[in-house]
Symmetry: C2
Subunit: 266 residues, 2 copies
Amino acid sequence: MPKKAAQIPFIQSLDRGLTILQAVATSRQPVTLGELAELLGVDRSSAFRLAQTLRRRGFLSSPAGRKDYILGSAMWTLSRQYDWSNMLVRVAHQELKALANGLNETAHLAIREGKSALFIDSVHARHVIVVAGQTGELVPLHSTAHGKALLADLEEKDLRTIFGAEALPKFTKTTIKTLPALVKECVGIRERGYAVDEAEYMEGMRCVAAPIRLNNGMIVGSIGISAPASRFLKEHYSSYSKSVVLCARKIGELLSTSEEIAAQSA
Amino acid sequence: MPKKAAQIPFIQSLDRGLTILQAVATSRQPVTLGELAELLGVDRSSAFRLAQTLRRRGFLSSPAGRKDYILGSAMWTLSRQYDWSNMLVRVAHQELKALANGLNETAHLAIREGKSALFIDSVHARHVIVVAGQTGELVPLHSTAHGKALLADLEEKDLRTIFGAEALPKFTKTTIKTLPALVKECVGIRERGYAVDEAEYMEGMRCVAAPIRLNNGMIVGSIGISAPASRFLKEHYSSYSKSVVLCARKIGELLSTSEEIAAQSA
DNA sequence: GGATTTATTGCGTTTTATGCAAAATGAATT
DNA sequence: AATTCATTTTGCATAAAACGCAATAAATCC
C-alpha cells in the first residue's frame, strides 16, 4: 500500500496523555488505572506513569483517599482563564466578512455571557448606515435572533435557571412573553437550524442568526445578519438564512480542527 | 529551583506537552514555535512535534493562515462537558462534614449557576431540624451569603451583566436593593474573606459563607453555615466565620493538587 | 487472617523522542 | 523580481526515555 508521505509526526506519550485526559473528562465515574491501561493498550505501569504525570501538573486528581482519577483543577483554570471569545473572533472574522460582503448587510458574531448575548465582532457592509449592534453590546437572550440561537439546545429547566420565574422583559409587540413559548421557539430553531428576530427587540429591525457548533454539537456562539425591515424583506429570509447557516457550519468546522485524524491508516 | 526532589516518575514529553498547553492558555497572544522551544529549552523541531501532536488532537489550533498556536476546541469541549460540581462535591465532602459537626450546624456547598447560587451538597448537624437549603436548591446571588461569596471578585460591570438594569428582587427588609450597594458588599467580602446573610433572603435565618478559591485566586464555589437567628447569634459570627474561611481555604488547597502528592502518605 | 486484586517501584531492553542539519516555506528588503 | 533573513518542517543517527516485565507494597475481599 502506498503510504501518504505527509504523515504528521506525533509524540506517542503525549498523545496517550491526551487520550487519558479525554477519557477521564467524558467518564461520569472516576477512572481506574486498569481502565486507562486497557484503553491505551499498554501495561499498567505505563498508564500509571502517564497518569502520575498528569496529576503532578494538576490535570488529574484523585478523590480523597481513593486511587482512581478525575479531572484536576488545572483543566478548570486553563479553560476559564483563556479568552475564548478572542479565539472565536480570530477564527470567525474572515467568514464574518465574507458573509457581510456577500449579502451586503451587517453581520454579527455573538456569544452567551450570563443572561445576555454579547456581540464580540461585527462587519458592516459598505455604504450602509449602521443601525444596531456594535461590538461589545449586550442584548437579551430571549428577544434577539442571536440570543435565541445561543439558547437553541436548552431544555425548559435550563431556561428556567437562566430566566427564573419572572416574566420575560418585553421590548416590542412581538417579543416572546413566556417561557413555554421560548421552549417551543428553541425546538423550531433546532429543526430549522437558524433563529429569526421579527422586530422582537427593536422596532423595524429584522435579524437571522444561526448557532455555531463544535463537531460534538456544543453551541459556542452565533452568527447572523441584521438590517432594517425596510431593506431586509420577508422574502429574503430563505436565502439569508441559507447563507448564515452555511457560514455558521464553516466556522464550526474551523473550530473543530480534528480533521486529520480521519486520514490515519489502521 | 528549590523544587522538592520528586521520586514521582514522570513522562518527559507528556510533561512538556502540558507546559505548552498552559503557556498557550495563559498567553493573550498566539504563541509561536520559537517561543515554545525557548520555554521548554528544547530544539525547535522537538517543540514542533509536540505542538503538532496537540494540534492533531484539537488541543491546539492555529489562526487562519498563521503558523502560531492558540488553544483548540478540545480544551473547550473537555472543560465544558465535565461535571465540575461533582468533582467539587467529592473533594469537599469530608471538609463539609467536619465543618458541620464542629459547629453542630448545617453546612452547605454551593456553586454559581447562571444568576443563582446552586447548593450542590449539604451536611446537617445531628439533632437539628433542617430549615433551609436542600441540595439542588437554587437561591438568589445577591441576597444570600453563598451567592455573595460567589460574586465577591466581580466588578460593577460584571454584576451589571448578570443582573441587568432591573431592580434586585427583594425578599426581606434587609435584602440588598441596589447594584452599587452590592458592589460595596463585594469589596467588604474580599477584605474580610467571608460573606454574611442577615435574614436577607429568609426571615429569621443567618448564614456565613466564604468563597472557595483555586491557588490562582479564581472562585469556584462557596461553603457556609446557616441556622435560625435564634440559635445562630450575632456573637457567633466571629468564630463561625473563622471556621468557614479556614474550611474554604482547605478545600481550595485540596483542589489545587499541583505538587503535594507527597503529603498523601500513611 | 489469608487470598486476590490493584497500585507502585526497579531495572534491562527496545522504542521513541531528540538534536542536528538540511530543505521548504514565507516575509521583508532592495 | 531577486536576494536575504527568519521561521517552519522533514530526515536521520543516536542518546535518552518510555516501556514491559517482574517484584513489592498496598487495598480489598472473603
